[in-house]
């Protein structure tokens, strides 16, 4: 192998070693990475040429020049000094870490509750066992998500990843996008992420009243219902119970006010009665003794089966949309929060 080739090979090996040690965020920026490695190579050739006193450098000079560069680990370490240490995750990565945990947990809760709702609607479903499985699944999912996400963020912190690097990864070189972002910056933040306290109070009270009424079942004396819809009282009692639980959650939300984390918690809890609602809706289709028999008796010529089936499908979709709406509110609260309240101290400071 010629001297020149040997030198080139050595430099390439050095560059490869540096590249291996570099943090992920730099490796993902292909142009910058190449540019950086080329710059190191130029430096080595400059140094080697100087060591060779202006003549063609040989392998000994190149080796010496590489030595003066510092080890690949030392070079890569300079890129890893980004970020302020805070436990094992850098301070800069805590907000995306929190957000990822919240989104993952809400998603796991949603999937488990939705599955529970559908299982509960099946004929002969064992409620206790299904609910138990759903909660077990939810907590196991939480545990996996927390461990997994934490490990990822610890690793990202170790590599000196900063939140802006996430943006760079997804950044499309499109000026339109830039303009949209600028526009968004200029647009004042809309703060009405969740309904007002009054609205929640109203929903809470309505939940108590309607749920109480259904729970008491004041239609017991109607012979027709007892004869043709024998499962209706039990079904209505469950609906009433779910309404009361929803009412308690809404009432709590009204009392909590503008506390982001607690609002997010109760919005998540709100998904649970919604799933029971879905299960109860599906029961209307699966259990003919709730309403179908009665309606067939009342309207013998109508296609009651199809009408109820279609209505159940429509309301089930609306129910799932409602659940997704709650998830959207949780996400919006995380991204936008509430309008910060000016403290007495800040007011006094601003007045001066």
């Amino acid at each position: 192998m010629s001297n020149q080739n040997e030198s080139k090979e050595l430099i390439e090996a050095f560059k490869e070693e540096v590249k291996k040690k570099l943090p992920i965020w730099l490796k993902t920026q292909v142009t910058e990475l190449k540019d950086f490695l080329d710059e190191l190579e130029d430096h080595i050739w400059d140094k080697a040429t100087e060591l060779a006193e202006g003549k063609e450098p040989d392998i000994v000079h190149v080796r010496e020049a590489i030595k003066s560069m510092g080890t690949p680990r030392q070079i890569a370490k300079e890129f890893r000094t980004r970020g302020t240490p805070k436990f094992y995750i850098t301070e800069e990565l805590w907000p995306p870490y929190y957000k990822s945990l919240i989104f993952a947990c809400v998603f796991i809760l949603f999937v488990n509750m939705l599955t529970m709702g559908i299982k509960l609607a099946q004929p002969g479903a064992v409620v206790g066992s299904i609910v138990g499985q759903a909660f077990e699944g939810t907590f196991a999912g939480f545990a996996y998500a927390i461990v997994g996400i934490t490990l990822v963020f610890v690793q990202l912190s170790y590599h000196g990843f900063l939140p802006e690097d996430f943006k760079k990864l997804t950044e499309v070189q499109d000026k339109k996008k830039e303009k949209t972002r600028e526009k968004r910056k200029r647009t004042p933040r809309t703060r009405s992420v969740i309904p007002s306290t009054g609205s929640y109070l109203f929903e809470g009270i309505m939940g108590f009243v309607m749920g109480g009424v259904l729970g008491l079942y004041p239609f017991g004396d109607i012979n027709f219902l007892a004869e043709h819809m024998p499962a209706l009282p039990g079904w209505l009692k469950y609906v009433g119970l779910v309404m009361i639980v929803s009412g308690v959650i809404r009432f709590s939300q009204a009392l909590i006010g503008k506390h982001v984390r607690l609002q997010q918690l109760f919005l998540s809890l709100g998904i649970i009665p919604m799933c029971f609602n879905l299960a109860l809706l599906l029961q209307l289709h699966f259990n003919e003794y709730i309403i179908r028999k009665g309606f067939i008796y009342l309207f013998p010529t109508a296609d009651v089966y199809t009408i109820i089936y279609a209505l159940v499908i429509v309301f089930s979709i609306l129910s799932v949309v409602g659940m997704l709406g709650e998830i959207r509110k949780i996400a919006q609260l995380e991204l936008k929060g509430f309008e910060p309240k000016e403290t007495k101290f800040e007011k006094l400071m601003n007045n001066h």
């Binding site: 540096v18 910058e32 540019d35 950086f36 080329d38 710059e39 190191l40 130029d42 430096h43 050739w45 400059d46 140094k47 003066s68 560069m69 510092g70 690949p72 030392q74 070079i75 370490k77 300079e78 890129f79 000094t81 980004r82």
Partner: protein, 173 residues
Amino acid sequence: MFRNIKTYRPEALIESERFRSYVESFESELLRGISTISALAIIQRHPQEGVYGYQLLKELEQETQRTLVIEEGTLYPILRKLERDGLLISEKKESSGRPRKYYKLTEEGNKLYHHMMGFFSKLLEAIAPLMEIEIKLPEKKYVYCPNCANKIPQSEDIRFCNICGLNIEGLAK
């Protein structure tokens, strides 16, 4: 500082792994900021054509009589960080048959450089008595902003500090 010494006498304190790593980590922490300021000082001397990495290191070595020694490869991450932070801009130019990356200070970088220099100079002046050394700042040539220590040339007719906005009229001698 100890990088040129291969072996130490056994009784030397630095032979102890514990103390050597302490000294090394202390030096590297202290040098991090100083290397940045010194690199900026060299770059600032080349406002038109800029300076490339190897040239910068050579000038730094000469100016500091080889006292401030940066591991050569570690200079480039520093330069890239400064570029990402908007203090430097770079341009690729051919020189001696090789494409080189020339670094120049941006307008903001120039302002921040003067602030960093002023802050560091005032800091040295303040701690000088603790170290039993004397530091004489060129106060005939520069005004140091009393609020942020920004270093402002006396020759420039500046009424407000371009870093913190303090009214410095009347401070010039």
